[in-house]
């Protein structure tokens, strides 16, 4: 009865799983082809047997293993290694698994600074030592993407990934393929706005006012967000957030893209490329507030975000 699937979530928010459940009726048609052997959000399969009687941690073997979330602690690492061993094809689902995601913003800080803040620097918290217990997994040094630790066969990025692509990738696997990837297009390639190749100029505007647009008219009547003088990272971001059809979702909300699908191709240098894109429309990248964090918002793993040495005098 269908191909076996195991699913796990690591340093994640459950948005990827909710995105799967939002697939709608297509989900009901897909389900008979899938035999879930482990998926904590939906299924009560336990690591140490159903009554905790076993001594070894165990996830069942599966043809397809899906993992959302990056790696933040030793237990995540352990689950990831077990999933890798037990899955024929391992899928990194979502931008945390693929690039570290929002939680990898933490890579700009030392672990000690973060724990200090959480357990001793919060006005509501009784200052206490960091939790330390055999059932509380230790943090790893940084937030990592899955492919920094194990071999990943297939990546479905996005925050969240669109259900169209999840279904597409799974159907490709069911058809016997072993590789799948989103087409290499930029968000701008799928964005209908008007481009005149030059911006209104001036320092890059913060999101303190709304974009200029006619609510009754379509996006094809709105000027490009970068050209309006705001920061939109669409030029260096992989397209696909709205699925196979449809306009980029943040732009649909009349807000700029922040890069949740990650770079257009592996090994890209989105920060460098984006500075070029801004310069080409006459905007000065140096005027972008909080440049490093905003340009690497979803991709802080793989060494994109690191702790900077303290500035002299600070």
């Amino acid at each position: 009865m269908g191909v076996t699937v195991a699913e796990e979530w690591l340093n994640a928010c459950s948005g990827c799983e909710i995105s799967i459940l939002n697939t709608g009726e297509a989900l009901l048609d897909l389900l008979p082809h899938l035999n879930f052997v482990h998926i904590p959000v939906l299924l009560d399969h336990k690591y140490f047997g159903q009554t905790g009687e076993k001594t070894a941690f165990e996830i069942p073997e599966a043809v397809v293993g899906i993992i959302s979330g990056g790696v933040r602690n030793e237990e995540h690492k352990h689950v990831l290694n077990e999933m890798r061993q037990k899955s024929k094809i391992l899928i990194a689902l979502g931008s945390c698994a693929a690039y570290g995601g929002i939680p990898a913003q933490a890579n700009m800080f030392k672990n000690d600074e973060i724990l200090e803040k959480v357990f001793r620097g919060s006005p509501s918290t009784n200052p206490s030592p960091n939790p330390e217990h055999s059932d509380v997994p230790k943090w790893t040094n940084t937030v990592q993407a899955l492919d920094e630790i194990v071999k990943v066969d297939l990546t479905i990025p996005g925050c969240p990934p669109h259900p169209d692509w999840i279904a597409d990738a799974i159907l490709a696997l069911l058809a016997g393929k072993t590789a799948w990837a989103l087409p290499e297009r930029s968000v701008c390639d799928t964005c209908p706005v008007i481009r005149e190749k030059k911006s209104v100029g001036g320092p890059i505007k913060r999101g303190l006012t709304n974009l200029d647009f006619d609510p009754e008219a379509g996006l094809d009547k709105m000027r490009c967000i970068n050209e309006q003088g705001f920061f939109c990272i669409g030029p260096v971001t992989l397209a696909g957030c709205a699925g196979k059809e449809g306009v980029p979702r943040c732009v649909q909300a009349r807000t700029p893209c922040r890069g949740c699908f990650g770079p257009i191709r592996k090994g890209a240098r989105p920060m460098v490329d984006m500075m070029g894109a801004l310069t080409s429309v006459g905007l000065d990248p140096k005027t972008l507030v909080d440049r490093r964090a905003i340009m690497n918002r979803y991709i802080g793993a793989h060494g994109y975000l690191t702790v900077l040495p303290a500035r002299p005098g600070k």
Partner: protein, 448 residues
């Protein structure tokens, strides 16, 4: 020495945790612990970010209730910058919140909780899941999936994103609603209301009466409650003041920005999740027979603290609920019931807002100037009172963040409920997977 039963992972919840049940030599429960293993550190890594970016960063705290974080954060930033969003912007925020919460409630009831009630708590795990539910009641399942997709589509078609939204902004929202968008949404909201009524009836006919014994025994504790009420005591998800109720039903109200006077957070070495407690009631004591400082949040807490619901159908349900279980109602599994009363209110409010002529106003964003300030933004998340407390510098960059999120408030009571359930169900070393699942049901009720 006795032994430890580990339930790992806790399943059909939206997070990472395990339960350890400690037995003595005779096989009786002496202690339980719910270990929360996840910690990400948002409170630190948001420092330095431009405040207006916060609503689209912190929504990522939770993929199932991103709208709650998105809106609490918007309100905190509004307050830091000293700006009041125009009325239509608030109405649009409320509309999106209600639609998102409808999807959330349907998800929890049918996908996460229903397997225990429709398939049965003792059934084998291979069928005690949503796939089993789909086989058992295929027509309802098809409706459920359709309704969830509908809420997601309503959010996406208008506000771009259902998960991790960008729509709410410092000082308002990013776009107005056109008449065309409003009239397209109206019949959908009507359909959601009908489905919410169906769900309530289905639960009252088929679930709650059948499991009355379980409701009266599993995870039962007697503690306090926290939730938002309007000035006149009416239920509100978006704005008001906090009401902290003692187990005997007496209560004290306070403004959101006074939360530090009422709520403290305790840290235990065995969990990354802190233990918020009612400071004025004394030092937190996780003692099942004599708990101190412990209060609950989320839907059961809200229907306990409010004087009335905000809409007629929900109010009628609240009256029936109170007639049966009193105020405050303490049975833990009644969370499932309270959740459906709120589902009705969300659906009624979505319709009300869509019928409000002001919803299509073009005045949706106030002028915003970054400045130094402090802002405490609160909303009721599906999982409880959500507190976002920010400070900004003169450039409007974040200097401090303190967060107390829905399920964190419930950490202490969840631990007590698990201990109660384990003690009531496990004797002389005898237990099976069904019994351990019932212990988990005490957790699932809270929808952590």
């Amino acid at each position: 020495m006795g032994k430890v039963i580990n339930i790992q992972p806790i399943t059909r919840i939206e997070g990472h945790a395990k339960v350890a049940i400690h037995l003595d030599d005779a096989g009786n429960v002496v202690e339980t612990k719910v270990h929360v293993q996840a910690l990400r550190g948002f409170e630190k890594f948001c420092e330095g970010r431009p405040a207006e970016e916060m609503p689209r960063i912190v929504c990522h705290i939770c993929g199932i209730c991103p709208w709650a974080h998105h809106l609490a954060s918007s309100k905190a930033v509004d307050a830091c910058f000293g700006v009041t969003p125009p009325p239509a912007a608030v109405k649009l925020r409320r509309l999106m919140q209600n639609i998102a919460y409808i999807g959330d409630r349907i998800l929890h009831f049918y996908f996460l909780a229903a397997p225990d009630f429709v398939i049965g708590p003792d059934a084998d795990y291979s069928v005690r899941n949503v796939l089993g539910v789909i086989q058992a009641v295929p027509d309802i399942a098809r409706q459920v999936v359709k309704m969830r997709q509908m809420t997601a589509n309503m959010l996406e078609d208008f506000a771009g994103r259902a998960i991790h939204p960008t729509f709410s902004q410092a000082g308002g929202v990013s776009k107005p609603m056109t008449e065309k968008e409003r009239s397209a949404m109206l019949p959908l909201a009507q359909e959601l209301l009908e489905f919410s009524q169906f769900t309530m009836k289905f639960a009252k006919d088929n679930v709650f009466p059948k499991y009355l014994d379980a409701i009266k025994t599993i995870g039962v504790i007697r503690v306090g409650y926290l939730g938002t009420v309007r000035e006149d005591g009416t239920h509100d998800f978006y704005d008001g003041k906090l009401r902290l109720m003692k187990p005997d039903g007496s209560y004290e109200d306070f403004a959101y920005d006074q939360y530090l006077d009422y709520i403290g957070e305790w840290v235990e070495p065995w969990s990354y999740q802190k233990f918020p407690y009612a400071k004025k009631w004394g030092q937190l004591k996780l003692d099942l027979d004599d708990p101190v400082g412990v209060y609950r949040t989320n839907c059961l807490a809200r229907v306990n603290v409010v004087d009335q619901m905000a809409t007629p159908l929900a109010q009628a349900e609240l009256e029936e609920f109170r007639a049966a279980f009193g105020r405050p109602a303490h049975f833990t599994l009644l969370y499932h019931y309270a959740r459906l009363i709120e589902l009705l209110q969300c659906a009624e409010q979505a319709l009300e807002l869509l019928n409000d002529p002001e919803i299509t106003s073009r005045d949706i964003r106030a002028e915003v100037t970054p400045k130094a300030g402090r802002g405490v933004g609160c909303v009721e998340a599906p999982r409880g009172s959500l507190i976002h407390d920010y400070e900004t510098d003169a450039d409007g960059l974040i200097t401090k963040v303190n967060l107390i999120v829905g399920t964190t408030h419930n950490n202490a009571p969840i631990n007590l409920s698990v201990f109660q359930a384990a003690k009531a169900l496990i004797h002389d070393g005898k237990y099976d997977q069904g019994i351990l699942n019932k212990v988990e049901m005490a957790i699932r009720a809270y929808d952590p």
